[in-house]
Amino acid sequence: MGNKTILYTQHVAMGAKMVDFGGWDMPLHYGSQVEEHHRVRQQSGMFDVSHMTVVDVTGSDARDYLRRLLCNDVARLKQKGKALYSAMLHEQGGVIDDLIVYLMTEPGVSGEWYRVVVNCATREKDLRWMSDQVMKMDVALTEQPDLAMIAIQGPQAIDQVKSVLSPFRQNLIDQLKPFQGQESEGWFIARTGYTGEDGLEIMLPDDEAEAFWQLLAEAGVSPCGLGARDTLRLEAGMNLYGQDMDETVSPLVSNMGWVVAWEPSDRFFVGREPLEAEKTAGVKFKLVGLAMETGKGVLRQGQTVVIDEENQGYITSGGFSPTLGYAVALARVPFATGDEAEVEMRGKRVKVRVVKPPFVRNGQKVYS
């Protein structure tokens, strides 16, 4: 028996196939994950992501604490509600987890409040690490286990969400820029997501979540499971922790170089030194996209990518892209890899193109 989110009974009632995910009973799909995928690309879908871990960071040293804890720099957050994608690294530069951090208060005020959302499968080690890193700083870490979280994604998602909310919240949503959120009476409404589509992620008190989920369903938003969530994020070229990166690799070989804020150069963050050394020595690998534009078959995690006789890589995430109609993957390959490779698949080698992710954004193929 796993943990259940507040929406568990809704999922079962809607015919979900439930699976274990990081100790939680979560919907894999409600019939067809490919159909759910298309719904999100073409209309809208909603995902229960209440299993994710929400931690509020407060105290007079909150900002300094996060500037040290994260490889991206929260000093880049110049507006209330703004979100930053980042990662926590250990002393050797490996990725403990990736995360989103929101600035919840006006910037620059004393006693800033940040909200950090980390993965559920890494919850315990993340909380332990975050707690260990407080040391003597004036920082409070407060988990928010009583918040549900629903992601509503797709070209029609924002309009459909607005149709079931008060005029006040409609107006609040209209003001949101991409990657920004705002609070409203215990709700936190953010224009973020993990699909490559426009949409919202809404945190709200557990006791309001079921009613909101039902209203969204009545407004025509399709419930979607983890299956579609995975193929959507893969098409969008977004990493999945535990597959595309983990504690054994640095962000520099995980297509996350852009998440490392090198400037200002005097900012210390945990893992900075080994990353600088890696950069100076020359980064050996890179995380790329693979597209199998011809032939049948599906690229899968763990398959070997053959560059030439001496150089190999491996697929970190692979799958069938419903939008493109063929298989795509993320793979870690030698840095010098060109634009073609072969993948060992079920005893034979198949040709793939090496491309720069993402594969799909806003319903359209975007790589070339």
């Binding site: 894999l28 799909h29 067809s32 994950q33 490919v34 299956g227 193929t231 049948k296 078959g297 599906v298 899968r300 799958g319 069938f320 079920r346």
Partner: protein, 130 residues
């Protein structure tokens, strides 16, 4: 509980067999199998004219979840393959016993039919695997 039609025969590797009564059989994968696989995205089948022996792997089903071999439940010559699966592999999910059929086989030894499971036997087998 998945759908297991009484008039069909089965093998433990989750293929179904319909005896057409003229020395040929139609073969596909069961409702239980498609449910385990999830959405089917590619199906690779043998070609018309190929000879297969019972137990051979004769094709591959790729779903969103995994690649699975398809085994020939009987021996014979392939006389037809379902070409609709090329464009519409999702038929395997939506109609596994109808439009989602895989191949038709002319049997080399009709006595092999006696070795197949009936619906009850297959239901028990699924039960034992779960």
């Amino acid at each position: 509980m998945s759908n297991i039609p009484n008039e069909l025969r089965y093998v433990a590797s989750h293929e179904w067999i319909r005896d057409e009564g003229d020395g040929t059989v139609t073969i596909g994968i069961t409702d239980h199998a498609q449910d385990l696989l999830g959405d089917v995205v590619f199906v690779e089948l043998p070609e018309v004219g190929d000879n297969v022996s019972s137990g051979d792997d004769m094709g591959v089903v790729e779903s969103v979840k995994a690649a699975s071999d398809v085994y020939a439940p009987l021996s014979g010559e392939v006389v037809a393959v379902n070409e609709d699966l090329e464009e519409s592999p999702e038929l395997v999910n939506s109609d596994p016993y109808g439009d989602g059929w895989f191949i038709r086989l002319r049997l080399s030894d009709v006595a092999e039919l006696d070795d197949l499971l009936d619906a009850d036997g297959y239901a028990e087998h699924c039960e034992s695997e779960s």
